[in-house]
Symmetry: C2
Subunit: 341 residues, 2 copies
């Protein structure tokens, strides 16, 4: 776990956060986002409490209205199941939850901000490769441990990190909208294959049927069933494709999120998908995939941190300078470093 | 370097590719994209030949017309400097270079496809975190070593990986367009701070002046000069901000790429920025940052591969199952693995 300078403080912060102290929760999240020994200590402390929340990823191109949809899912849940608390994690830099919004969106989101049963957090972009994915899954774990029953992760769905983030959800909703110019956005971004539910939002716009048709055509072309995807280096045993006819077929739903239309059918589909995961081997498989992805992400950081501690920053700076001067190639430099005892 | 089963074959492929065999080049790129020992061997072989190309990143939201701009930069270069060869690496899944294009774009790109002095490669999305960034910088190195004088990297600029990719370029062009709905896209995505040149494309559209004004306002608010950004874990020594008045101020240019307008001014700005980097400490600093990012990326993979070899897949599968069953938290599991001798 490395050396935390403040193990007691971290432990106290975790205690307050899991007891429902919202300010402690916000501080704990910041600590976890920062990474390092304190974050890892906090995460190992909360880990036994995780695994309770339902995690729903909502992803799609800018302009599909997915933030509004996330807001509607949160509101619907709070209205119909007031005892369920909702966490929103906005990774999308264009999301109104993240501050990048037009006025109308902000006003719509304000309903949520006043509700103590809703916790909203936007993720900043991170300095290092893969850092955002690591930080996002960690923040989701904190919300899970602190009692959020439903956690919505909003991502823009255009980059590999965002796809990786969406993949860690129980249920992935891919949002489209008619008339965005370039045919169906999700297909190109390679995110269709991770979709459990497809939503064509802004369904009052012209071209909705051709968007739906395009999605149907893509699904019929046979995207791999989600459980068979290969996730990362650590999944050494490839699972056989699920051949059963009982496998999940992603429904295509229409919504007009800005008017709250179609949300009940969407919520029904989310519930059905949750029930499906509980009853089918794919559910267990997905838990295992998530564990592998988590372990891999953490391992990468852990191994690098161990190495930096073992090698020392002077030696690192020296090697970086040598690589920059092309006195050594970075592959050989990495091998040299990796062989440091 | 791990165990390559075909060191002689890889070495022969490298020889043919650097001698200008286009098919060998394409095969070498595929090998490098796949990663693993063969890729690393190939990359260490070509590394001494790298560092010659001028690398220009072009990034922006979908709909800004950046693919067309990339095509125009390539054509302009080939027309005015026929002895300079051009490589295009399209990471953007919506790029016409990557196959996701409307008919008009494809026709425009066809001019380039028939030119032996242009090599176009589109990157597939990768399975693992950070894999796309690693693969892209590696493909750029192959093109560099094989004699491409100018390498254009097109990214969608919406995800962290894409920002990391853009960061490895000598010159980063951020493309905007008026009337995309949501104010200025680049600002929200946090990519303004990595811009060396700002281009407002589709400058015949309504709203061009307000887009330019918004960009000016953001620049005046004082984005950090690019050389002072903190890049990744390995940059242990923070460099002081460059206080000199001679530092680079990103120009804001107007283009209509589809009509080839404004390209000469853009090419002039690219040349000026290149000259600036050669004459100023920021240029050296950027070389060092790139070396650190490269070394870090490779180290993460190297360390993980070493570990997997040392631990064995049975032990890994076992630990993944334990994490999935919540018998152990992934942080402790990672620590256990990382301490494997």
């Amino acid at each position: 776990m490395g050396n935390s300078r403040r193990p007691d403080e971290v432990s106290a912060l975790v205690d307050h956060a899991v007891q429902g102290d919202r300010r402690a929760l916000a501080r704990l999240i910041s600590r976890v986002e920062d990474g390092g020994p304190d974050a890892w200590l906090a995460l190992s402390l909360i880990y036994p409490r995780t695994g309770q929340a339902q995690i729903v990823g909502v992803t799609g191109a800018p302009g599909t209205g997915k933030s509004t949809l996330v807001g509607e899912i949160a509101k619907y849940t709070r209205h119909h199941q007031p005892d369920r608390t909702v966490g929103v994690v906005a990774v999308d830099p264009t999301s109104p939850f993240s501050g990048g919004a037009v006025l109308g969106d902000r006003i719509r989101m304000r309903d949520l901000a006043g509700d103590d049963g809703v916790f909203i957090r936007s993720m900043a972009t991170r300095g290092s490769l893969g850092g955002l994915a690591r930080a996002t899954t960690d923040v989701v774990k904190v919300l899970d441990a602190c009692g959020c029953d439903l956690i919505l992760i909003e991502t823009v769905g255009a980059g590999q990190s965002e796809i990786d983030i969406a993949r860690t959800a129980d249920t992935v909703i891919v949002v489209e909208a008619p008339g965005l110019g370039d045919e169906v956005q999700a297909i190109k971004a390679g995110i269709l294959e991770i979709a459990d539910i497809l939503v064509v939002n802004k369904a009052d716009r012209e071209g909705v049927q051709s968007t739906i048709n395009a999605l149907h055509a893509m699904l019929d072309l046979g995207a791999a069933p989600r459980g068979t995807l290969h996730h990362g280096v650590l999944m050494t045993t490839a699972e056989p494709p699920l051949k059963s006819d009982s496998r999940w077929h992603p429904p295509i739903l229409k919504t007009i999120a800005a008017e709250g239309k179609g949300i009940d059918e969407l919520m029904e589909a989310i519930a059905q998908h949750r029930a499906y995961l509980q009853d089918h081997p794919e559910g267990q498989q997905r838990v295992k995939v998530r564990a592998a992805v988590e372990l891999e992400t953490i391992l990468r950081e852990t191994l690098l941190q161990h190495l930096i501690e073992a090698v020392g920053s002077d030696r690192l700076d020296d090697l970086i300078a040598q690589v920059a001067a092309r006195e050594i190639d970075p592959y050989s430099a990495a091998e040299l470093l990796a062989r440091t005892p």
